[in-house]
C-alpha cells in the first residue's frame, strides 16, 4: 500500500511539474523537454527507485503523470506530452532494472554519472520517438515513416542537453538519498495523499482558468 501511495505522489509531482513548470519553460522559449526530463523526470524517478527499489514503480509514475498531463491542455497538445511521459517512465524502469541497479546498496560516482547520461538521453529520445510514432497514429493525418526517418538526426541531437543535465541530476539525487530522510508512519498517508491531491487540484484549477480566459 505504501508503494502505491508513493507511485501516486511521485507521479503527481512529476505531472504537476510537466503541466505547470514545463509550460512556463516552453512559454519562455527554453528547451523545456530536455530540462523537464533531465531534472524533474530523472530526479523524481531516481529518488523513488533509489528509495523503494521496486521494479514497475516508475512505469506507474509515468501513468499517473501522463494522466495528469491529459487533464491539463496548457501548452497545446496534451496527447503527445502524455504519451511521451508514460513512455519515459517505462524506459527508465527498464534501464534501471536492466543495469541491475537495485542489487547494490551503493554505486560509484562514475556509475551514477554514467547512468545519469545514459538514462536521461535514452529516456528523452525514447519518449520523443514514441510520441512521434503514436501521436500521428492516433490522429486523422496518419503516420508516415519517411517523416520520422528524415528527423532522426534532430531527435538524436536533441537529447544531448538532457544527457548533460543527467550527469548532475543522478549523483545529486543519490546524495539526497544518503541523507536518509524518512516520514513517520502516522504522517505517511496523509502527507502523500495530501500532496497528490494538491498537485491535481492546482492543475485542474489551472485548466479551468485557462478555458475561462
Amino acid at each position: 500500500m505504501k508503494l502505491f501511495a508513493a507511485i501516486l505522489v511521485f507521479g503527481s509531482l512529476w505531472g504537476f511539474a510537466e503541466c505547470i513548470i514545463g509550460s512556463m519553460l516552453r512559454d519562455a522559449n527554453l528547451p523545456a523537454g530536455a530540462l523537464m526530463t533531465g531534472i524533474f523526470a530523472l530526479g523524481l524517478m531516481t529518488l523513488s527507485r533509489g528509495g523503494f527499489r521496486q521494479p514497475g514503480m516508475q512505469a506507474g509514475m509515468g501513468l499517473v503523470a501522463g494522466a495528469l498531463r491529459i487533464v491539463n491542455p496548457f501548452g497545446g497538445c496534451f496527447l503527445c506530452s502524455a504519451i511521451a511521459i508514460m513512455a519515459e517512465g517505462i524506459l527508465f524502469d527498464l534501464l534501471w532494472t536492466g543495469f541491475s541497479f537495485d542489487k547494490r546498496e551503493t554505486h560509484t560516482l562514475l556509475n551514477q554519472a554514467s547512468f545519469g547520461i545514459s538514462a536521461s538521453y535514452i529516456v528523452y529520445i525514447g519518449g520523443y520517438f514514441i510520441t512521434q510514432i503514436l501521436t500521428p497514429v492516433f490522429s486523422p493525418a496518419g503516420f508516415y515513416l519517411e517523416n520520422l526517418v528524415a528527423f532522426i538526426p534532430q531527435i538524436l541531437a536533441s537529447g544531448l542537453l538532457a544527457a548533460l543535465i543527467g550527469v548532475i541530476t543522478v549523483p545529486a539525487v543519490f546524495m539526497a538519498i544518503r541523507l536518509d530522510v524518512t516520514v513517520k508512519d502516522r504522517l505517511y498517508y496523509p502527507l502523500t495523499l495530501g500532496v497528490s491531491a494538491l498537485c491535481w487540484i492546482v492543475v485542474i484549477i489551472n485548466t479551468i482558468l485557462i478555458s475561462w480566459f
Binding site: 497545446g76 497538445c77 496527447l79 503527445c80 536492466g98 543495469f99 541491475s100 541497479f101 542489487k103 547494490r104 554505486h107 562514475l110 556509475n111 554519472a113 554514467s114 547512468f115 547520461i117 545514459s118 538521453y121 535514452i122 510520441t131 512521434q132 501521436t135 500521428p136 490522429s139 486523422p140 493525418a141 496518419g142 508516415y144 519517411e146 517523416n147 528524415a150 528527423f151 538526426p153 534532430q154 538524436l156 541531437a157 537529447g159 544531448l160 544527457a163
Partner: protein, 131 residues
Amino acid sequence: MGKDRFLPIIALCVLAIASISSIYVYTTQATTETILINGHHYTIDQLFTITKPRTFTDLNYSGIALDDLVVQTGVKNPEIHTYTIIGSDGYEKTVTWENMRNGVLTHNRMVVFSDLPKAFRVKDVVTIEVK
C-alpha cells in the same frame, strides 16, 4: 561485477552519438528566405498577397489558409494529393487535403492545424511538397 560495469562505455557512446548528430544537424540546417511549394519559390509576403487569410481564435494563430495556398500555387485536383511540410530543421509532417483545409501558415512561417495535435506544427517552413 554486474552489468553496470558497461555504464561508462554506454555513456561515452551516448555522448558521441548525441555530439555527432548535433554537428550534423548544425551543418545541414537549411536557411532560406523563400518557401518552395510544388516546385516554385515564393516569399512569405508574396504568399500573403495571393492567399485568403484564416484565423484560429481559440488557438490564437492567424495567417493564410493552407488549402487556398495550394490552389493559388497551381496544384490541380488538390484533394487527391498528400502534402509534406518541411521545416528548416528537417522536421517534416505529411498531411491530407482535409487537414490542409484546417491549416494555417503564419507570417513567421509556422504551420498550425486546428484538427491535428501539436506534433504536426512545423516551424520555419522551407518546403511544401505535393505528392
